[in-house]
Amino acid sequence: MFTRDEARAIVDRVLAASPARATELILRGRELRHLRLAESAPSEQNVVSDPSLQVRVEHEGRYGRASTSLLDDAAIERVLDAAYRAAKLSPPLDLPPLAAGAAHDDSNSDGGVDEAAARSLLARDSATKLEALAPALRAVAEAGAAATGFWDTTVESCTYATSAGCFRHTWLARDWFSSTVLAGDGGAGVAHDGQLDASMLVASRADAVVRQALDLALRSKKARAIEAREQRVLLAPQAVGELLLFLSWSGFGARNWLEERSFLRRRRDEVVLDPSISILDDAAAFGGLGFDFEGQDRRRVTLIDEGLARLPVFDRPTAKEARASTGLDVETSGHAGLQPSADGPLPRHLRFVVADAKQTPARELEACLGDGLIITQFHYTNLIDPTAVTVTGMTRNGTFLVEGGRVVAPVRNLRFTVDILDVLSTIEAASIETQVVEAFFGGAAMSVPSLVLPRFRFTSTQS
C-alpha cells in the first residue's frame, strides 16, 4: 500500500522514466487477509501483499498498455518499454487526451475511505477473528450442522496519475464476512454482513452471521417438492441484488446502449419499471473511488427515475460517440474502466430505492406476501436475452412456502426463467431496511431492500 506521498514519488519515477509523450498510470497496493471456514473450522488463512502498476502510453495517437507486480527501477523500465513498443506498433485510436491536472489535484474529491480506519482493519489477525467466531461455530457443531464461510479483509491504496498533471489518490477497504451452514437433509442457510467503508465488522456481528445462517439451515431441512409454476414471491436482498446486477450489466452501460443492446435505448423517459422504483449509481454512498480510470470525477447518476428510463453511465469515448451518433448533449459520468475499454463504462455502486408509499418493515413482508414463496438467494443466474433482460437461475439456501402470511414449509430449490423488466414492472411492497450485497462474480456493490412481487415464473425443480 502506498501513502499519498509514497505514491507521488513512484508516479514521479515512472513519469521521469517514460519515453512516451503522454503517460497514464494506475498504481494499486493491496493487502489481503483471508480466512476461509469449512466443517465449522478454519480451512485457509492467507496473507497476501499485491501491488500493481498499470501504465498506458500514447505515441502519435497510438496507445499501448502494460502492467507489472514489481516496482523496482528495472521493472518500471521494462513495463514502460513494453507499453511504448506496443503503442508504436498499435493502430491509431481516437481517444480523448489524458486528464490534465490542477483541477483534480484535490484529495477531498478523491472519494474512498479514511486511511487510518482502513489500516486498522489489518491490525486484527486471524486468531482474533477465530476467537470471535468460536461460540457460534460451537453452536453450529452442537446442532449437528457444518459452517463454511469467508472473511475478507482487504485494504487498498489506489492512485491515478498522468503526465498531463492529474494526480488522484485514495484508500479503499472492506471487512466482509459470509457464511453458509449445511444442516443435513438438504438444509442450508446463508447470511453475510460487512461494509466497504472501512468500518470494522465487530465480533458480535460476525457471530450473528453464523447464527442467522444456522437458523435458516435448520428451518430449510427436509424441504418438500412443489410444482414449478408462476408464484408470488418475497425476494430477500441477496436475490434482489442478483436481478439488479443483470439489469445493470445488460442495460446501464453506454457501450450496450450505443449498440442497441440496452433496454434503456430508445426508451428515454418511458416507463420501464414500477413507478415506485428508482435506481442510482452512487459510489460515494459505498466509500468507493471518487474518480474513474480517466481521472474524471465519478458522479452520482440516476438510471431509473420513478420507473422512467434515463441515460446510462458514460466514459469520455462513449460520451463522444453518443454526441456524434445521437446528437444528445452528454458528457462522461466518470465511470471509465481501463482505456481503451471493450465493454465500456459500467456502474458499480448501485442503490435500489423504493418510494415510501410501498415501504414496509421487513418483519411485515410475509404478511404482505400472503401466499407464495420466500427466496433467500439465487444461484448461477445468467442472461438469455439482453433486451428483455431474460435470465435463468436457481433458488438456494432457504426457499420457503408461505400460506396466509405464515411460513408453512421449506421447499426444494426451483429453476426460474423470467424477464426482469416484466417482474419488476409491478412491486407490491419493499422493506424499509436495506442491505449491501455483492454480485456472485464480484464487480458491483448494491444497496437493496427485500421485495414482494406478484409474479415470478419457475420452470423446473432441482431433480
Binding site: 473450522a41 523496482d72 426463467t417
Partner: protein, 496 residues
C-alpha cells in the same frame, strides 16, 4: 508427453532454490510438518479489435512467491511479489506459520497429506512459434483483416476479434525435497459478430464463443484456426439467426458437439467431481455436489457408451502440466467409465480423506497470489464409433446445436439450463432451418443416460476453458474438454 521433461538445472532454478530454502528452513524450525514454496512468473499479451478500433493492447507481467505451510494439521499461506528484499522469504514463512498456528487452535480434524515419491524435473509445454517474440503488426493485421469483413454485415451491432497469449513459469520446492519446474504456454483467438434489429440481438462466433478457442502451444495455434476462412459463414449464420423463428418447446432429440458439449462436460461432470466441493468446502459460494462419497463404483452417471476421462497429460490441453501445485505428477484416469462413476478429483489432503493412497494430481493455484485448490483438469468425453452425419440421420425431429450463449446449473450440479448460439432443426434425418435461442434443460445423470451415440476420433477435439472460476476469493484456472458430436434423446427444450 514425456519428452519435454528433463532434469532441472538452470541458474534461475538454483537462485530460486536458495531463496526457497530460507523459507523452508524457517518453517521447519518453527514447527511446520510440511512447507512448500512456489515462485511464479507470468506474462500475458492480449490484443482485441472491436468495430475497426483497437479495444485492447496490453502486456502484463508478474513475478511473485508463495509460501504454504502445514502446522499441527492447519494450513497457513503468505505471498508477495518477489522483490530484492533479502528478508522476504523468511518473513513470508513466519507469517504463514503464524496463520497456520492460529487456525490449528480451532481445528479438530487435522490435514494429513498422502505420500508422494520424490519428484524432480522440468516440464516445458510444446510450442513452435513464440507469440511474445513476434511483432504486434502481424498479430494486429490478422485481427483487422477479420474485423474489416465482419463490419460489413447488415444490422451490425458490434464485433469482437481477439487473441491472447499466456506464459507461466513456475518453480516449486517442498520440505520433502521435491523440486519441479514448469514452463507452460497457451494461445487463443476468436471472433464474434453481433447483429441487432427490431429488438432482436443475436451473436455468432468462431471457433467458440466468449473469446474463442485456446490450446497449449504458440502462435501456430492461432494460424491453425484459419480465422479468415470462417468469416463469411459466420456472417451468414448471424444473419439467419436474426431472421429465424424462436426455438419451439417440447421434448426433442439433439446432436451437440464443440464448445457447447465441452461446457456441458465442464458444468455437469467437472465441478461436481471436485472432492473438496463434495465435502462442502465450497458451499459458501460455488455450492456442493450431488456426487456424494457413497456413489463410487455404483452410481450410474450416464449411458454405457459414456466414458469421461481426466487427463493432465493431454496433448494441447490448456490444463496440461508436468506436476500440480502439490508436486504430484499429471495423470490420466476415468471419472466415469462405461457410464459408472469411478473417481473424483483430489489433492494430497483430500486423497487421504477419501481413503485413496495417493492424490490424482489436480491441486492448482492461479499464479502466486493464491493457495492451490482442487481444480477440474482436462476432462473429456471419449470418442465413439459413429459420425456426426450418422447421428443426425438417426433423428426424426430434433435439433443440431452449436456454440454457447448462456448457461446455468444448480448448486448441486443437477438441474441445468443451457442456451446455444444457434440450432438447426433436424427433420427426417436432415438438417433444415435455423432457430434462435435454443434452450434445453435437464438433470445431469438423466441427461448423460440419454446419450446413445458419439462420433469418432476424427471429429473429436479439445476445447479450452481459460476462465473457470472457483474459490473465495475467486481464482481462475484453465482446462480443456475434449469431445466429438454426441446424440441425446428426449431432451426438454423450452419455448424461446
Amino acid at each position: 508427453m514425456k519428452d519435454p521433461v528433463t532434469e532441472a538445472s538452470s541458474a534461475e532454478t538454483e537462485r530460486f532454490e536458495a531463496l526457497a530454502n530460507v523459507a523452508l528452513e524457517r518453517a521447519r524450525s518453527a514447527g511446520a510438518s510440511h512447507a512448500d514454496v512456489r515462485v511464479v512468473s507470468t506474462e500475458t499479451r492480449e490484443l482485441a479489435v472491436r468495430k475497426s478500433q483497437v479495444s485492447r493492447c496490453s502486456r502484463d507481467e508478474s513475478l511473485g512467491v508463495a509460501v504454504r505451510v502445514l502446522v499441527e494439521g492447519a494450513w497457513g499461506f503468505a505471498a508477495a511479489p518477489l522483490s530484492g528484499d533479502a528478508e522476504l522469504l523468511g518473513r513470508l514463512a513466519d507469517r504463514a506459520v503464524g496463520e497456520a498456528r492460529a487456525g490449528a487452535r480451532h481445528r479438530a480434524a487435522k490435514a494429513v497429506l498422502a505420500p508422494l515419491p520424490a519428484q524432480r524435473g522440468r516440464f516445458v509445454s510444446p510450442r513452435e512459434e513464440d507469440p511474445f517474440a513476434m511483432g504486434l503488426e502481424e498479430q494486429f493485421d490478422l485481427l483487422f483483416e477479420v474485423d474489416r469483413e465482419l463490419v460489413r454485415a447488415k444490422d451490425l451491432a458490434t464485433t469482437s476479434t481477439q487473441m491472447s497469449f499466456a506464459r507461466e513459469r513456475q518453480w516449486q520446492f517442498t520440505s520433502e525435497g521435491h523440486l519441479v519446474e514448469q514452463d507452460l504456454l497457451r494461445s487463443g483467438a476468436g471472433f464474434a459478430l453481433t447483429l441487432a434489429r427490431d429488438g432482436i440481438v443475436q451473436t455468432r462466433s468462431y471457433p467458440a464463443s466468449f473469446g474463442g478457442q485456446y490450446l497449449q502451444g504458440g502462435f501456430e495455434v492461432v494460424r491453425g484456426m484459419r480465422l479468415r476462412d470462417h468469416v463469411a459463414r459466420v456472417q451468414e449464420e448471424a444473419s439467419e439467426l436474426l431472421r429465424a423463428a424462436p426455438c419451439p418447446g417440447g421434448r426433442f432429440d439433439m446432436v451437440v458437439g464443440g464448445s457447447q458439449l465441452a461446457l456441458q462436460i465442464h458444468e455437469s461432470v467437472g465441478h461436481p467431481n471436485e472432492f473438496d466441493r463434495v465435502l462442502g468446502f465450497e458451499a459458501d459460494l460455488a455450492g456442493q455436489s450431488f456426487v456424494t462419497p457413497e456413489k463410487r463404483n455404483r452410481f450410474v452417471y450416464g449411458a454405457p457408451i459414456v466414458d469421461l476421462v481426466a487427463d493432465s497429460t493431454l496433448a494441447g490441453g490448456i490444463g496440461t502440466f508436468g506436476w500440480d501445485d502439490d508436486a504430484v505428477p499429471g495423470q490420466r484416469f476415468h471419472v466415469v467409465e462405461q457410464g459408472v462413476h469411478r473417481n473424483w478429483f483430489t489433492n494430497r489432503e483430500f486423497a487421504t480423506r477419501l481413503g485413496d493412497g495417493a492424490s490424482n494430481g489436480t491441486n492448482r493455484a492461479e499464479g502466486w497470489r493464491y493457495p492451490p485448490q482442487i481444480r477440474i483438469p482436462n476432462l473429456s468425453l471419449m470418442w465413439g464409433s459413429s459420425t456426426r452425419d450418422e447421428l443426425i440421420a438417426g433423428i426424426d425431429d430434433g435439433f443440431l446445436l452449436d456454440g454457447v450463449k448462456t448457461w446455468s446449473i444448480d448448486e448441486l450440479r443437477l438441474n441445468f439450463q443451457f442456451t446455444s448460439e444457434i440450432a438447426w432443426r433436424i427433420r427426417a434425418g436432415r438438417v433444415a432451418e435455423v432457430v434462435r435461442n435454443p434452450t434445453y434443460q435437464g438433470v445431469t445423470p438423466e441427461f448423460w443416460s440419454s446419450c446413445d451415440g458419439i462420433a469418432g476420433r476424427e471429429e473429436w477435439a479439445a476445447w479450452g476453458v481459460p476462465n473457470c472460476g472457483k474459490g473465495q476469493p475467486m481464482q481462475v484456472a484453465e482446462m480443456s474438454h475434449g469431445c466429438a458430436p454426441a446424440r441425446f434423446r428426449g431432451v426438454t427444450f423450452l419455448q424461446a
